[in-house]
Symmetry: C2
Subunit: 204 residues, 2 copies
Amino acid sequence: MLKPSYSSKLLENAVEQFATLPGIGKKSALRMALFLLKQPTENVRKFSEAFVDFKENICRCSECNMISDSELCPICSDMRRDKKTICVVESVRDVLSIENTERYNGLYFVLGGIISPMDGVGPSDLPVAQLEERVKSSDIQEVILALSTSMEGETTSFYLYKILSRYTLNITTIARGVAFGDDLEYTDELTLAKSIENRQPFKK
Amino acid sequence: MLKPSYSSKLLENAVEQFATLPGIGKKSALRMALFLLKQPTENVRKFSEAFVDFKENICRCSECNMISDSELCPICSDMRRDKKTICVVESVRDVLSIENTERYNGLYFVLGGIISPMDGVGPSDLPVAQLEERVKSSDIQEVILALSTSMEGETTSFYLYKILSRYTLNITTIARGVAFGDDLEYTDELTLAKSIENRQPFKK
């Protein structure tokens, strides 16, 4: 970058804004800004509008809190999905990850966060009542808790378990174990212990 | 990402736009879009506006073609710079790089490209007349050609040399040699040969 006395406010502003993005340092941000400079104005307009448009017009699905272009997300409104199973996840990104596996056909519930006293997030900040309402009002038979194994994740899972166990349904959590391709040697003890505890019949 | 049937047009558009940036793949683009989702709308607006503002309002310095917020760039208008030396570079980025060294006190001339028949860029596409005019009309004593050593760069340097040599001035090029920290073993032969040819008196 130029010395402050030579700098261009317009360039600096563009670079600063790019540098707010996760994983983008000043150098990449400068590269991006200079890249935009070479694009036709029309493209830069489209580029910029996409983000405001996304931020201002994206909805939250009224059923599962997933981001959606309409009031009910395409997953919740798909008749072919199994409406008796809900997978509770922390974030939109988790839904995308599970959908990528193409092995889950139920519905979701996006918490949007986990209980974390350090960050000032308590149970009342999460849409737990909404989840409870959904379990009560529809014919849900299984709730899969797919939260992280961090202390905050475990606390949240336990809290949800306590509330949901009042209803007649199966409450499960995703399997923990040694990941495909991982060496036992480098797997942490907790994971390895879980993977032995929850061993499965060998399938040929 | 979601299957096409589940996808959000708004999210996809934002991801696609981020993915047009240099060095940004679909995964990083998704991360960026979801990051924006968590920011206050006001910040997303500021973010987007910075780029259109930059693209639409940035000027080119009338003297050196450097990007600038005003008609004359801060370097050209700085009275303390040596007005008798011009360093000819390909791009805005090159000016930033040389300025970063804090060892050059002259002026610049940004070509904005180099002669490249493969990309359809001929001498007439470069602001050579503007450079010539500048050399003619002001008291320039040295022109430093700081273009790349690619075939295109060398061709352009030679072309500029032919034109500028009609005037009484020193025409120089930046020194080529083994970079600091580089092993001789891994330096290409051309660079190593140049570095021996242009050897310098040893300074204690």
